[in-house]
Symmetry: C2
Subunit: 757 residues, 2 copies
């Protein structure tokens, strides 16, 4: 792979905030936006921020008309102590790229080495020139560590250099009253509890205002030149100042070691923090870089996709995969936020995005991490049970539509709590995990419990209609441009699958894990007739179909709505949700993203391909793609129906969604789900990979624009390498025992040697 993935060569003030997202550094635990160490002048939009996954504050939710079961409090991933700050003074001049002359500028996100590097040549207003090279890294090998190497070369002067390295709790979350995609209660919510010094380590211990969580941020600095330093502090910050006399041509490097810990994960977060800080100091920047490279070699080895034929797309694909890695939690306390750890859009909440869009990437490249993601849901199952009771369901669990700590915190239920499909989405991830890993024990120990509890609530909201069909009313499907509808095709179909899988899992437990089953049945008070009841409902499940148009209506009433005139809607009226009252949108045939098409992708059943095709073109006409989750699905399913042009066209819109700021809100953070969707569009779309009756199958349809694609996946402890072009496909078994796969319907026996189709 090309080691340097993306580079910017120009400093454009209007794009600073977007670039802060694009060049953020994260490791699933901490995320640091790509802000300049020295800051920006007022007037330049910057969203300075550092986040810890699942480190949140709560705020009481206010409703003008409050009803039972409305969540009591919000959750907001909080900005933690900012440790990015390094200020540089040359004699009396302060370094700023926005003053003097910026001779050259370059910033590189290096996804091979896992760091971001900025190289700047700058002439001060007084004519003093420096070259600045800043490398920053959030460590994958030591998740608490954020490291900066700050190298200054003095080009043409002799004088006094002052470097001030700081950490500060003066941070405020964003808020926006008129944009439902941001929270409404921003402000500083981090209260300093203790400022302390231990050896060369300075620490700020902070507590959240309401949730009572604690986080510690420590800093130590090392200069490669003998120099005294002074540590000073205020109520909310600590600075270490180095002063030294420099000559023209001389260089100096500051290494800044920052560590974060928190009370969510650590028993003694302060002690642990200090000890980790000491350990990374002794390792040093260089050693940490080496470990980072090692980690990433492994990652790319399992995950890389190479495209021959289009460098931009190749760039986009790798960028997106790297961002997914940066975003994904590897512990059971957290998950993957809608914006990863790159910004505070959607308040750092976890949605169905994880299970439906991002999960497959990890499942097929890093099954252990995929298992962890499921464990987050398992660990929050009690919250989901409480939520089900709040919603008047006597049994079962209702997963939260959006959450950090497992409690529902969606304040607008028509496109929040009403999305009961979150239950089937989580369940789908569980059954996918089972199919891909054959990890029966996980199913016996955790999966079955999640499935049965999720199914109970879906069963409770359904009923048998007079014609004997099982129907599900008053839910919102994934497409939020209609809400609280009856018989949403996606919800009904995914529930049918959940119900069927409950039967499969019950059989597994009966056959192989009778003890686990007994324990589970006692724990959740499972009646003998419950799962058979689910299975019966699955058979009777109503799936709306319109005979005249030969399409599946998104819901019972969908086709009786007016068709939105997308072509004649002014461009500045998109996304519709920001410009029209929900009732007006709900009254139309218009989709933010295509429910039904998604259902055909996720739950391939016996729907004839020509009907799938009808649905595709029907919904395409009325979809605005206001959701970043839309185009990837259109790409995948275009591949499925053999519409190569659309498959490729939609793919390009997905692949560079953030790099090109296509949705216009990349400053709020990356779109992790779209990134996962891009991976799916390659693997499930172009390579046509599916699991059919437990077998791995491929039905490739590679774009003519590309010479070849290559990617690796992990399936049932085997590592496979797939190489495909327009005309040929090769599946190699890189590791693991012999296995059969299917290509275009033909069985291929893979031995630990190469096989060609």
């Amino acid at each position: 792979m090309k080691s340097r993935l993306i580079t910017e060569y120009e400093l454009i003030p209007e794009k600073v905030a977007v670039s802060e997202t694009l060049y953020h550094t994260a490791n699933g635990y901490i995320g640091v936006r790509g802000c300049f160490e020295e800051g920006v002048p007022s007037g330049v939009k910057s969203i300075r921020g550092t986040y810890i996954n699942a480190f949140y504050d709560t705020e009481k939710l206010h409703y003008e008309e409050r009803y039972t079961g409305f969540p009591d409090y919000s959750q907001c991933m909080l900005k933690v102590v900012d440790a990015q700050s390094i200020k540089l003074f040359i004699d009396d001049e302060e370094f700023s790229m926005f003053e003097g002359e910026l001779v050259s500028y370059k910033r590189i996100l290096d996804a091979e080495n896992g760091m971001v590097e900025r190289v700047v040549q700058w002439k001060s207003p007084a004519g003093k020139e420096i070259e600045l090279t800043v490398k920053r890294m959030v460590s994958f090998s030591q998740k608490e560590a954020f490291l900066t190497s700050y190298h200054v070369k003095c080009l043409n002067f002799k004088g006094l250099l002052k470097i001030v390295s700081s950490i500060t709790s003066q941070v405020s979350n964003m808020s926006a009253e008129h944009d439902p995609r941001l929270g409404t209660s921003g402000g500083n919510r981090l209260l300093v509890k203790k400022i302390s010094q231990s050896g060369n380590i300075s620490s700020l211990e902070c507590q959240t205002r309401n949730s009572g969580l604690t986080s510690i941020c420590s800093m130590s600095n090392k200069l490669d030149t003998a120099s005294e330093s002074i540590v000073t502090d205020t109520d909310n910050s600590i600075s270490e100042t180095f002063e030294l006399h420099v000559e023209a041509g001389s260089s100096v490097t500051l290494e800044k070691f920052v560590t974060y810990t928190d009370s969510v994960r650590y028993e003694d977060p302060f002690k642990d923090n200090i000890s980790i800080n000491q350990s990374i100091q002794s390792a040093g920047f260089k050693k940490m870089v080496a470990l980072q490279k090692q980690y990433l070699d492994e990652f790319w080895n399992h995950s890389d996709i190479t495209i021959k034929g289009n460098d931009d797309i190749q760039n986009g694909i790798r960028y997106n995969m790297y961002q997914l890695l940066q975003s994904a939690s590897n512990d059971m306390y957290s998950n993957i936020a809608a914006k990863g750890l790159s910004g505070e859009g959607y308040e750092g909440h976890y949605f169905w995005d994880t299970e439906t869009y991002i999960y497959p990437f990890f499942l097929f490249t890093n099954p252990d991490l995929a298992r962890n993601l499921l464990m987050f849901r398992y660990n929050t199952l009690n919250g989901a049970r409480r939520r089900a009771r709040e919603m008047a369901h006597p049994k079962g669990a209702l997963f939260p539509w959006r959450t950090i700590n497992g409690d529902e915190c969606s304040a607008y239920f028509p496109s929040g709590t009403a999305q009961y499909h979150i239950n089937t989405d989580v369940a789908h991830a569980v059954t996918q995990y089972w199919q891909v890993t054959n990890d029966h024990e996980f199913m016996a120990d955790y999966g079955a419990e999640m499935l049965f509890e999720a199914a109970r609530v879906m069963y409770d909201i359904g009923l048998y209609r007079r014609d004997g069909k099982f129907v599900i009313n008053e839910v919102t499907g994934p497409d939020e441009y209609t809400a609280c509808v009856n018989n949403n095709y996606y919800t009904n179909l995914s529930t049918k699958h959940l119900f069927e899988h409950c039967g499969n899992v019950l059989k597994l437990l009966k056959d192989l894990y009778p003890k686990a089953l007994k324990k589970l049945a006692a724990k959740i008070d499972l009646d003998d007739d419950e799962v058979p009841g689910f299975q019966k409902a699955a058979s009777a499940m109503y799936l709306p179909f319109d005979e005249e148009l030969q399409v599946h209506p998104q819901d019972d009433a969908f086709l009786d709505r007016k068709v939105w005139d997308i072509a004649n809607t002014p461009k500045d009226k998109f996304p519709l949700l920001l410009h029209y009252h929900p009732l007006h949108i709900y009254r139309h045939q218009v989709c933010k993203q295509p429910d039904t098409v998604l259902a055909h992708f996720l739950f391939e059943n016996n729907t004839p391909l020509d009907i799938v095709q009808n649905d595709y073109y029907y919904y395409e006409k009325i979809t605005t793609h206001d959701s970043s989750l839309s185009t990837c699905i259109f790409s995948i399913m275009a591949s499925r129906i053999g519409d190569e042009k659309r498959a490729y066209n939609y793919f390009t819109q997905t692949a560079r969604l953030d790099l090109d700021n296509i949705q216009g809100n990349t400053d709020h953070g990356i779109h992790t789900a779209a990134m996962g969707g891009m991976w799916m569009a390659v693997v499930f779309g172009f390579a046509g990979m599916r699991i059919v009756n437990g077998e791995l199958t491929f039905r490739p349809n590679i774009p003519s624009e590309w010479k070849q694609i290559d990617f690796n996946i992990t399936f049932r402890r085997r590592q496979l390498r797939i190489s495909a072009s327009k005309t040929a496909i090769t599946v190699k078994l890189l590791k693991g025992e012999a296995i059969n796969v299917f290509v275009d319907g033909d069985m291929i026996e893979l031995q630990p040697e190469e096989v060609t189709a």
Copy 2:
């Protein structure tokens, strides 16, 4: 009639707040809750308050997820200066009914004289006895005036009597975060602008915090015994103190004259206030009492209903009619709040309650006032047009679901803005007015404009389905226990009627008022094909009907919902809206009030009576009557289908709803709509009155419990008196020209002499 309508003989601390509602005094302009002049001790629940109709403050509405078209600010009928306070001191003891010995207590609401009287005999802790007689009156002849006569008789002591009469702006609106029926932003919002003294008149001029409205409250006091008084003031109150030496057996009477004016209605509210205060002082309490009696004689003459055979019901009926009079605005700046002027439940907002439940009472007893109520809607038509644009309707007007100033202020659209039937309800009142009064000019000048504008929005939300039917999606009917449904029977049927009336009105204008039509067409840019379009849609209107059950479903999906098990729902879980998440309620067949049954009442069409009957019994089983608007409709329609037992039973629940605090929230104010509903249950229910093809008809079905009912109505400038028993009905023409009426299908020619059927 019995002059003394209701009386309480006991002071029960737990019922103080309810009695404050029941014994409030109002005149459609000002309303004073029946609080004790001297106040109550802390610990006794009291909601002290005085209101001016349509005098409101605004507050920014807060949404955790805000979408386009959500109202920006709330409106809240504000507590104005409290002028009820009169404190009494005997030597060093302060009078309080909650200390010492309350020898006797009586409070009478006298609806014949229009006042409330309290007679108390009290022994102080030190053994001093007094008899206190307080009369208070809010004047119908001078709407700005609130008068109190405070009479103290000293029974057994000699000493110093001190009387302190005050007005104060220290008042706070109620708020309750967890009860959607109250507002959320209470507190004091009345800022004192000026305290002044002019002769013996003391005035407080106050301004609202946000809406910028001003109100003035002035007080003057007159003691019948020569005594000096001292006037003192603080930042927010003025007191006048009288001290005098009394002997055993002596009496003293204080007359307190209070006047309110406001900047909504008066050009110089201060000057007007002073001059009105002077004028009522010179008139004196006695003269004002005489004028009050005169006004009420007229009222009862036009409105009274007498029931022979049940005093409790008789009491309830008169109480309710009197409350309607107290609540109804007689100017174009205001309307009738859901709780009248008796309390601050529903924040003093105007709903469809006025047009649908209260309006007929005034229409048939006081058509001028009925016309004024329509003029309020006409005067707020521009606001309704703005609202329609906010909701993306290119033409027409959408009346606000709840409002004071004409702007929508419902913060929860599923049971707010989604109730588009507000448009058909207002229109129905307009066409009713037209039918009952034959006031064609009103229709030409105002009515047609309201109808056409309302119809445009209803037309815009509908569409022709593939089968040629005109359908209306995504609205909430009157029953808020389902929301955002498709083809709500009530909405579709009422829209059909509106559309048909547009045709009738267009014809009227073409025939009789071509100039007015031309002017209107130019004003609202009415195309020639618009009204014909409405008429076509009326003919094609889809009205859901279930062939199997032979009932009209409340909406398309209604019969596919689970039936709520009302019998097995614990009593403390009602009203459901306070105990279950909306989605849970929406997912069931359960009604707060019966939409479809109401539709059969309001829009009698060709539905066969056996289907009406089916609907009645079907919906009765699933109605909780959580709405106070429910039982009256069940009573009326039970009369219609000949179910005498139910008609009477539901009627009794309606007739004494507040007197017996049946809904448990009379402390928040009276239920004006239920009171109007009671009147309808007598006149439209038991007497079976309807207008059929423009003719007045009766189909009486008098309860066996009653010997006879008598009532007066006004119809097309005639005053009629109807007397009916189980076996006979008499209709007398009291005033006006000859007219034909129909009784049980037989035409009766009424000459200015009596006719018996």
